[in-house]
Structures are given as structure tokens and as C-alpha cells.
Symmetry: C2
Subunit: 338 residues, 2 copies
DNA sequence: CTGAAAGCGCTAACAA
DNA sequence: TTGTTAGCGCTTTCAG
């Protein structure tokens, strides 16, 4: 069907040398005479030769490839983290195989199985939905680092994360300090990241003596979920003057819902998000948020992974990064209640 | 360093059969007795056996993998197209290897070279920045389909695209029919997609007798670029009452700039984007746009690719999909000029 | 510096 | 139905 690709053997015979010399030359070994190298490179170029990664990986017993799973390609958070990962991986001369499981545990498992069949030397999971058992199974087979979660422990599971409880508290405290009391939390669903952010909110409310005002609206981490939760919050008997939303994308949805109700942000309702996506800095949105150092988290993850690929038995590190409150235009003091 | 993974050979000896029988059993061949299959599967499970994709691909002379290059993971457009691609690729029992070149021709080339070394059986390029020569070189080696562009032709280059000239005209005509005359175009930079959209705008303006009002502000296809272009447009001596922006992400940036100037959308300035990203449907943004059938474009691309993998010499198809104007809240009739 | 030979894990005839 | 035998393209000893 397809004409066969040229192999190392074709290059060798065209250059008039042996296979192994070509192999050396292709990888820039110094033990090749200039004349031979010249001839080999020329022959390779003439033929349009490309090394076969499958063959190399088989003979070499290593793929020089790492696998990356991301929760959801639609959320720009992950693009930022990926930038950090990719630059580090490339710097190491590795390739990355990128997959998504669309937040579905079974698909995530299937994708990771594929990755392992491809003999990736390590795994970076950017916010997964795996069960602890499944995660440990993978981590037992190959160096693994988890980004944005640190709830599942294991001897070989490195993590890069921020303190979501503290971050959630930061968000709530900001609203409290502005003078809000009717502060609702639009929660992010059944996952540890969202649960921690909610916990931070609860803690802050309680510390401020506002435990009776704690209002948690169930929701999710997508724009549509934020929109729906906000609608429900505003339809209640005692609508909030401020909302802390589980992440930025959902916060954008929430802002949309507020404005659609004929209310303004922050005039009638203040909104705080979480993550620090670039879009939130746009003046229209101007989203106050708890910003994670996304790209750096990616870089750190890749660095941890390579450290562990080097020394697999080293004990796991848990890197905690600092998130910070970025105050923008979506929050303000509450309107005076007349 | 790492303990070696179990191989087909280990499974065979544990199950008391030969390598080839295991190979057959693993791929569900009917020519294996139930007893053997049972034993083999059990042994494989006990050992935690995973087939080695590199070895399989080498022996099989096919990788069952396609390569996908996307322009920019930060633009949600591509996530939507990818959804379409992935579902089709999975349905065919193939895997996809996803890479980005971050809109840099050299990096794109390097990434595609890698993909070919991995022996991908086909390539889907979702909006690339390759030179015609480079693209043709790749297409000569492996079945290739290009999504969102149709400017580079070649006997083996399939394309899936919309008519950007017509789409650009659609956007401009909408603004014209609303009564606008001072309509600026915030252009998308030096690439054929953006140039075509601009052409459509010029055509529509000319047809309406508004050639003297044609105003093109140079820019780019990111939120930051849209923001900057809009600022420039508004700072001009004769600020526009409407803007057609080269894509949705840039349009969001433009809206931000308008609002920051103390003007409102659509009260003072109407804004139209292009692409149809989900975010634009949020009520806050409520972006009028020319929507492409993104996910379907992905599906079509994958279908074309598999058709071509089947029959490589078949002549190239150029699929044109319909885009449609989606009118939302970011456009309205111009304010009466007092 | 160069070449021959073995083998990575798997598939695919072909025989038995 | 099963086992044997060759490779797939490459890296890597190990002799020349």
C-alpha cells in the first residue's frame, strides 16, 4: 500500500558503510570519521530517512517520552499548565504524549493504559478523576506526578499543588473584609479540589462569625455549571450580595447569570473565582480571583518527574505552591441596603 | 533501574503455551481454545502484562496512531474541533498523538517530524503555520488533512474548511443591515484565514457603497491582540460604531477595551466575532458571531483521513462546511447621532 | 574507526 | 488448535 520508508540499512548501503556506523552518526557520536559522517548525512537526506521511533525505543529499552493526562482541554487553566510542562520536557530532549479523559474515570484509565503500552517513562496527571486504587496502580508501574491534587498518597506519587483550603479562605475573607455577609459559595462538585475550596470558605465564614450565613450551592467546574448555580442562588429567598465560585470558568458563567438577572457585577453582586486564567484579566470580565502559578506548576511537575525517572526509589515529594488573591473589578463593597 | 516489564514470553510460559498463541489470544482471535484463552488471560492478569506498542508497531508495520497538530491550545476553538477528531479516531480503534507548535512554523515542523518518527499513519493539522513547501513535504510522506485552511493545494492534501470570505461578508452585512456605516475590522494578522475574513469585510463594505468607510486595524488572533486593536480603533479621530473582529477570542478582548473606554456594547459599539466558541454564548459576553460547526469539522477531518489511509492514491477532497451568523447581544442598531 | 552478530517484544506465515 | 521460525528497524557489544 504505502511504499516502505527508507531504513537505516538503506542509508548504510547508499553511504557505503555499515548499519551500526549510521546508527552512531545519526546520534552524533564522536567516534565517526568526518568523511563517513558526511556521506551518511548526505545519504540520509537524499533518501528522506527518518529514524523509526518504535524500533529505537524497542532496542533502547526506553522511549524518551512522557505521558500527560489533562482533565479537560476546554478549560484554559490546563493550557497554561501544559505550557510549563512542555517547555521542560522539550528541554530534556523528551517528547510528550498528551491525552484527555474528559473527566471520566474510565476513559482516563483507558487513556493511561494506552500511554503505558507506548512505554512512556513517566506520567503527569493534571487534575485526574482516578480512584485512589487506580492511581496507585499506575504509580506502581511508572513514575507519576499529580498536579493540582494532593489528596491521594502513595510512596511513589509526587504532587504539585496549592493549598485549596487556604485559597478558599482567602477568597471568602476578601469578600468579608469588603463588608459582605450574604456570601454564597458556588461549589465545584464532587472532587477534592472543589471540596477543599468549599472548606476554606466555610472556615472563613465561621471565623468571622458568619456561620449562619453559610450558603453552598452545588455545581460544577464548567461555565455552564457556574451559570446554572448562580441562577439558583439569585432565585433564592435571600439572594447573596457576593459569590465565591469554585473556579474561574464557572465564575464567568456566574457573572453571566447575574447580569442576565438585570443585576450588575460588582454593583449588586461581587464575584470571586479561582485559578487565575488569563481571560479573567480582560477588563470586561475583570475577575477577582485566587491565582495559582499555573505555568510554574507545570514546570515543577516536569522537573519532579525527571528527578524521579532518574532515581525511581527516591521518596515522593509534595510541592506546595503559593496562590494569591488578585483583586480586580468584579468585587466591591456591598451596596448600602435601604 | 526499573524492573523489566513482563513480556509475551513470560505470559506464555506461565500459561504453559507458546508465544504466538498468546499473541492471538491477546487480540481476541477465535482460533484459540477456550481453555487456553482462559489460562492466558489469567496469566496476563497475574503478571500485570501490557502489550508493548513499540514492538507491535514494529512487527505489524503499522502504528494504529494518527498525529494531530493544533495551532494553539489556549484558544477553545481547538478543543471543540479536537472533540470531534478524538471521538472519530477512537471509534476506529486508533490512538491520537496530540502536539502543538504554538503558532511557530519551526516548532510545528519539529513536532511533525517527531510524529512521523513515531510512525503515525496520518496527520490532521488544525490550523497550521507551515510553508506550502513544508506542508507538501509532509503530505507526500503520509496522508494529511488540513482543518480551517484551504489555501495550500496539493494532490494529497485534503481540507476541511469554511468559506472565510463569505463568513466575513456575513458579519459585515449584519452590521450594515443594522444601520452601521463606521464599521472597523480588527484584522487577525498575517495568515490566510484572517486575510480571507478581511476580504469578506471589504467586499461587503464595497457592495454597500461604504468603500470610503473601510477601516482595517492590524491585529492578531488572541485576546490580548483584540484588546490592543480595539483600543487603537477607539482612539482614532473617527471611532467606529461597530467592529468586526477576526475571531471570537480577540473579540472578547475588544469588548473589554470598549468597556474600559467607558463605552458600552452594544449601546455605543457593536461587536461581531468569528468561530462560535461556547464561551461566547454566555450572557455577559453574548457575542454575535459567525459560527463554524467546530466539532463536526473535527469529525469530518478524521473521516477523510481514514478514507485516505485506506486508499492513499485517491484524489484529495476539499470539504466546505457552512458557517452561520449567530446574532446575540453584542450587536444592535447604532445610537442616533445627536 | 568499522563491521558482524545478537536481540529488544511482537506478529505472521507455515508446519505439525 | 498449537508451536516454530523469521523477521520488523534499531542499538549495542565485541572483534577486527
Amino acid at each position: 500500500m504505502r511504499e516502505p520508508r527508507p531504513t537505516i540499512h538503506d542509508v548504510a548501503s547508499r553511504a557505503g558503510v555499515s548499519k551500526s556506523l549510521v546508527s552512531l552518526a545519526m546520534r552524533g557520536s564522536p567516534k565517526v570519521s568526518d568523511a563517513s559522517r558526511e556521506a551518511i548525512l548526505q545519504a540520509a537526506a537524499d533518501l528522506g530517512y527518518r529514524p523509526n521511533a518504535a524500533a529505537r525505543s524497542l532496542a533502547d529499552r526506553r522511549s524518551r517520552t512522557v505521558g500527560v493526562l489533562v482533565l479537560d482541554l476546554h478549560n484554559p487553566v490546563f493550557a497554561d499548565i501544559l505550557d510549563g510542562i512542555q517547555s521542560e520536557v522539550r528541554a530534556q530532549g523528551y517528547s510528550t504524549m498528551l491525552v484527555t479523559g474528559a473527566a471520566d474515570p474510565d476513559r482516563e484509565q483507558a487513556e493511561l493504559d494506552k500511554l503505558l503500552e507506548f512505554q512512556v517513562e513517566g506520567l503527569i496527571l493534571v487534575s485526574h478523576r482516578l480512584s485512589p486504587a487506580a492511581l496507585r496502580r499506575f504509580a506502581a508501574e511508572v513514575p507519576t506526578v499529580v498536579v493540582t491534587r494532593d489528596d491521594i498518597h502513595g510512596p511513589r506519587i509526587d504532587t504539585i499543588s496549592n493549598d485549596d483550603v487556604a485559597g478558599g479562605a482567602l477568597a471568602a475573607e476578601h469578600l468579608i473584609s469588603l463588608g459582605h455577609t450574604r456570601i454564597a459559595h458556588l461549589a465545584g462538585g464532587d472532587n477534592p479540589v472543589a471540596r477543599n475550596r468549599e472548606q476554606g470558605y466555610r472556615d472563613a465564614m465561621t471565623s468571622a462569625g458568619l456561620e449562619d450565613d453559610i450558603t453552598v450551592i452545588p455545581g460544577g467546574l464548567t461555565d455552564a455549571a457556574g451559570y446554572a448555580s448562580a441562577q439558583r442562588a439569585l432565585a433564592g429567598p435571600r439572594p447573596p450580595s457576593a459569590m465565591f465560585v469554585a473556579n474561574d470558568i464557572a465564575a464567568l458563567g456566574a457573572i453571566a447569570a447575574v447580569q442576565e438577572c438585570g443585576q450588575s457585577v460588582p454593583g449588586d453582586v461581587s464575584v470571586v473565582g479561582y485559578d487565575g486564567i488569563a481571560l479573567g484579566a480582560l477588563r470586561t470580565l475583570s475577575l477577582t480571583t485566587v491565582a495559582q502559578p499555573l505555568e510554574r506548576m507545570g514546570t515543577l511537575a516536569a522537573q519532579r518527574l525527571f528527578a524521579r525517572i532518574e532515581r525511581p526509589r527516591q521518596r515522593a515529594h509534595h510541592v506546595l505552591v503559593e496562590s494569591e488573591l488578585v483583586v480586580r473589578g468584579s468585587t466591591a463593597a456591598p451596596a448600602i441596603d435601604l
